[in-house]
Point group: C2
Chain length 431, copies 2
């Protein structure tokens, strides 16, 4: 009789969890990947779903499809509510336990509102497909409501869009909202015009893209302003409500606010009863294992990791992928009986952000790119990194279409019809 | 001073309303098209969204985009709640009135459950994009739940799919569910296989596709059975609940039931205080005007229309388009001062239905096609009739992809995560 295969349980099918599962291909282990959603999401392009350039199925793919050829993996669509560290089992919402010999925690991050959770209803963030279609609906419904609104001030508020946070997501959203608005308002409406559109990007720091070099920040600021985005720097948001946002000593009347300012780790630290940093990320050893629990490996945005130089590892897709691959390497080393230390080494490839349709900035550290060359590199890199061959073709074609015609293909308002009382109100998205 | 332009108000942006608006291009009128959704939907391909072959944006397009170049049209996204016939105004949900000189009512049809409205929660129909993504979610969640289910009987119920009604929609859904199931279960799940899949098509009449010639019905029946669909003919549904469906003296345990059996007209007859047939369709004059109200024209599924031979005009896209175009012709004739009678003449082009991936039946009356030739004609015809050039390319490419690889691109479960209590329960879709 052969001994049973080591049971590897991975929580989360994002970049980290998926990379861990894929690097275990062919290994003599029994992998169970658990996610409460059925799809892996290519988050770097999610803002394009929110602004109607891509459709949801172009940036998401069923996890079990991605892993279908990997015989040693089983995918479970289930919600995790805890971990029994002593019994070594993941606890699912239905009360069942999934036992593990090694646990990889890759549960990612969610929005954080700096203890102002009541802001979320007025300023949704962008993490899931539902977030993206919800923001898309808010943007498109604002145009519809403005077309019907006869009061000038109310119409102005409907055509004002605030984006909070000028990191890559905020910068990309600001550019994309300007372009969605201009393309939509140009010829499709009769009472409103592109000149009525106002996009305001609000940032607490004194420059946009704080992780990039100052000259790229300056270039991005100028590009955004050339595009028509009003950029408010050094402004802390004080209040958000149904009628607008207050920052510094200013008050901006707007019906559509998008949150791109902060993320916090998933509740994994609580499950593991582990020490966390102030963003909720689990403090881990140099090899990403939980202190005192070598059988638990924490990766991606769930872990608090620093580079050897003491800089925090950023919450970006390449970092999560590298950490997931590292978890698999650690597991494979142990299977070989290799107990030598295996610290995680993060290799920073660079920072990228697009600014509207034909410009981008890329900071490779020593090399810096900006403008249309950077935009092409950004586009090719993103198509290359898409999970699936079909998605690569379709995203490339969608982009080509928008590039040539300016027409965004996915301007659908779903899960929300015109209603009297609440044209901009939400249905329960998380359902 | 010129006299004001005649105000034409069209309620509904489906095939009928859109055709009416488009045929008025260039006319010296002020058209207002009102729809509570922002998109025109290509309903003939909606079942492909429900079965994950196409994504929503491939079969829907914003109405104001379609009509953007037509200067005499304004599009309003708003919900109509009534018509003030005496004051000649459409009443919106917010209480405002939209005055008209001529009103075109093109509000379409909705599901009808033969006075058993409580069946709807267990057996959703397929009329809107939300219906389609909701059915897609139910289908995909049933596979997910079956993969986790350890009780054999419960698993069998999860992998049994019932479709009620064997008209074109029911036949097309049955074939598509078989193919979605086979492709998904083949290699992506570990505990369930394609052999576990059961698709049951239940029809009250004694043959499928009652509107087609008997030999095409027989061919379709054989094709469906070859495909593995269990077809139950002459069976009236007696009960539908959360655990299954009862028909004749049989009881089928299933967690997923799709309603393709009956439609009823929208509430337009009530708005107009007009006489209606038993399906709720407004009885109209030969020229589609409302008796006693020549300024009100009723088209598409909203109207009860017969051919000169006394056969009812079917509720299909070409009939709605022809009626919409007729409404425009009537309006244009009146503008010219031409008061001669203009009866609506319906030209029946034919009936089409696909049976799975590579077979179809087409009944042109004298000419009949079946098998793969019919499937190609069906495919080319549907791509030709898609509203938009980009959609034509993308739908053709999606089909080509499925044809070559068998992979369906849109197997996303959205607005529903794995939860303990109700893996198959719905969020409020209509929100």
């Amino acid at each position: 009789m052969t001994s049973p295969k080591p049971r590897i349980v991975i929580i989360g099918g994002g970049f980290g969890g998926l990379a861990a599962a894929q690097k275990l291909a062919g290994a003599n282990v029994a992998v169970t990947l658990i996610d409460r959603r059925n799809h892996h999401l290519f988050q770097p392009l999610l803002y394009q779903v929110a602004t109607a350039a891509l459709s949801p199925s172009e940036v998401a793919w069923p996890i079990r499809h991605i892993l279908r050829k990997q015989d040693n993996v089983q995918v479970l669509m289930a919600t995790v509510v805890g971990v029994d560290i002593n019994q070594r089992a993941v606890i699912l919402e239905d009360g069942s336990h999934v036992p593990y010999d090694t646990l990889v925690v890759a549960t990612g991050a969610q929005h954080a509102y700096f203890d102002k959770d009541e802001w979320e209803q007025f300023a949704p963030g962008l993490k899931t497909l539902e977030d993206a279609t919800s923001i898309r609906r808010r943007l498109l419904l604002a145009f519809e409501a403005a077309e019907r609104e006869t009061n000038a001030e109310a119409r102005r508020a409907l055509l004002t869009f605030a984006i909070i946070g000028a990191g890559p997501t905020g910068v990309e959203m600001a550019g994309a909202v300007v372009e969605l608005g201009r393309a939509s308002l140009k010829d499709q409406f009769r009472n409103i015009t592109p000149a009525d559109l106002r996009v305001v990007l609000i940032e607490g720091a004194d420059r946009v893209l704080l992780n990039f070099s100052p000259d790229l920040s300056a270039y991005t600021l100028k590009s955004l302003r050339d595009l028509g985005v009003e950029v408010e720097l050094g402004q802390m948001v004080k209040a958000i409500d149904a009628d607008g946002v207050s920052f510094g000593d200013k008050r901006l009347l707007t019906k559509t606010i998008i949150w791109a300012a902060g993320v916090a780790a998933s509740p994994a630290a609580k499950w593991l009863d582990a020490e966390a940093d102030k963003a909720g990320r689990v403090k881990v050893n140099a090899d990403l294992t939980l202190p005192g629990h070598p059988e638990i490996i924490v990766v991606g945005d769930t872990a608090s990791i620093s580079t050897p130089e003491g800089k925090p590892v950023p919450g970006v897709a390449p970092a999560a992928k590298q950490a997931g691959a590292h978890a698999a390497q650690l597991i494979l080393a142990r299977l070989r009986g290799d107990a030598s230390p295996l610290p995680f080494r993060y290799a920073h490839a660079g920072d990228l952000a697009t600014i509207g349709k034909r410009s981008a900035v890329i900071d490779f550290g020593t090399t810096k790119l900006k403008g249309w060359i950077a935009w092409w590199v950004w586009g090719i890199a993103h198509i290359y990194f898409l999970v699936d061959f079909k998605n690569r073709i379709f995203v490339a074609m969608s982009w080509l279409w928008i590039y040539l015609t300016g027409q965004r293909s996915s301007r659908l308002i779903t899960h929300g019809m015109a209603t009297e009382k609440a044209p901009l109100e939400e249905v329960d998205e998380a359902g």
